[in-house]
Amino acid sequence: MNRYRVRFVLNHQPTQMEVKDGQTLLRALRELGVTSVKRGCEEGECGACTVLIGSKAYKSCMILAREVEGKEVLTSEGLVTVGSKLHPIQKAFIEEGAIQCGFCTPGMIMATYALLMEHPHPSKEEIMDGLSGNLCRCTGYSSIFRAVEKASKIFDAPQEKEGEA
């Protein structure tokens, strides 16, 4: 089977990877060492492999690696800034105890990121819908919803400042 070189931007860095035709983005990213992207159901149900492509969230087990040619892919690793500073969403998940086994967490965080980009002040219903493609078998979701609410408040200040500038 043919191998292809895919050029794309991974977590703000121009990146190349060698992939096969039928290889999913999930598997290709894990081969690259991006292990926040979890291999759960591999059929689009669990959301543990959620990544952003451009500004939208996708389940990377349903995307073929070749499809991200020339695109920007963001994973949970990419939210961490210089000096290992965690993103407000990641912090909120820790502070609210929204993590137990942690397997769903990177996917939850990426789905939250996409949700807050679209709805900076989501209602409870919008949070529930926004995370409805991500399954958690530990927390019962309440702590996750609290973390999203908390993260949305932390988000306020810098965004408004940017708007004024």
Binding site: N2, D21, Y58, M62
Partner: protein, 289 residues
């Protein structure tokens, strides 16, 4: 997955590839296709990815005639589209209920129509709006009413070497107000298939209206209940007496099965409830506007 992936950039290139590899599978969003391949439900040596073809991306209004939903338009694209929200509100509702927000970013309306499963959420609203399926192929382009398009579960009238380029929604006539409801029941809200889906569309012109009533997941193929529509349109009212009659007609026209999602008895009971609710809500909303 062991297939060769082809990535054409125009529909004519797709047709050439299909000619060369007659058994190739077409991929739009791929949310059904990749799962079916992985599970071994279908075989695929070649997969043609339609993601790089500009002419079938997005939603294209055709001034004064209607709206083309291109083969690569996602459910999220449809949900955000203001003209669809206004004139085809039940389609927006159906897209919102489909799967989850991540899959909606990827899955396409045309894919839903081509997968042609009995529970496809987009199908009852498209039927109620008398949607047309546009195809291109090695012969002349074809246009076919969606009603005739699906002939059995997962089976459509598509020809070999033919591609669906869009689904077309005719524009309501001048002065028509459209009220629509897509109501569905499923075991959980997200990521589950409908146990029953009922769509009602009422097109109001002043105080008179035309009703369109369609069903998903309660027969081999989603369908419109023409008899019930006719009774309602002749009566020009929705009240308890009429509802009892119409609901019986609807129940008589569905043929649900018992499966892992619901029993036949439950589905029939829900057809009663949802038909009643959809009709009443559309009637009251249209009448009071």
């Amino acid at each position: 997955m062991d297939f060769a992936l082809l990535r054409p950039t125009s529909l004519s290139e797709v047709l050439e590839m299909m000619n060369e590899y007659p058994k190739a599978r077409l991929k739009a969003g791929g949310t059904d296709l990749l799962v079916w391949i992985k599970k071994g439900l279908i075989s695929a040596d070649h997969v043609i990815d339609m993601g790089l073809i500009p002419e079938i991306k997005g939603i294209i209004p055709n001034e004064g005639e209607g709206i083309h939903i291109g083969a690569m338009a996602t459910l999220s694209d449809v949900i955000c589209h203001s003209a669809i929200q206004k004139d085809y509100p039940d389609l927006t509702q159906a897209c919102r209920m489909h799967s989850d927000p991540l899959i909606r970013n990827q899955a396409t309306v045309v894919g839903n129509v081509c997968s042609a499963v009995p529970s496809g959420d987009c199908i009852p609203p498209l039927l109620a709006h008398r949607a047309l399926v546009h195809t291109v192929g090695s012969k002349e382009p074809r246009v076919m009413p969606l009603e005739k398009w699906i002939i059995a579960p997962r089976t459509t009238r598509i020809l070999p070497e033919e591609v669906v380029s869009s689904v077309f929604l005719p524009q309501p006539e001048e002065g028509i107000r459209v009220v629509g409801r897509y109501l569905r029941i499923s075991r959980r809200k997200a990521l589950d298939l409908a146990q029953v889906g009922v769509c009602c569309v009422m097109e109001w012109k002043k105080s008179s209206f035309q009703t369109y009533l369609s069903y998903g997941a309660v027969s081999a193929v989603p369908f419109r209940c023409l008899e019930a529509e006719q009774i309602i349109n002749e009566a020009q009212r929705v009240d308890e007496e009429l509802l009892q009659f119409v609901v019986d007609l609807a129940v008589g026209s569905v043929q649900p099965i018992s499966d892992v999602r619901a029993s036949q008895e439950y589905r029939i009971q829900m057809v009663r409830e949802l038909t009643r609710q959809a009709l009443m809500e559309c009637y009251l909303e249209g009448r009071d506007q």
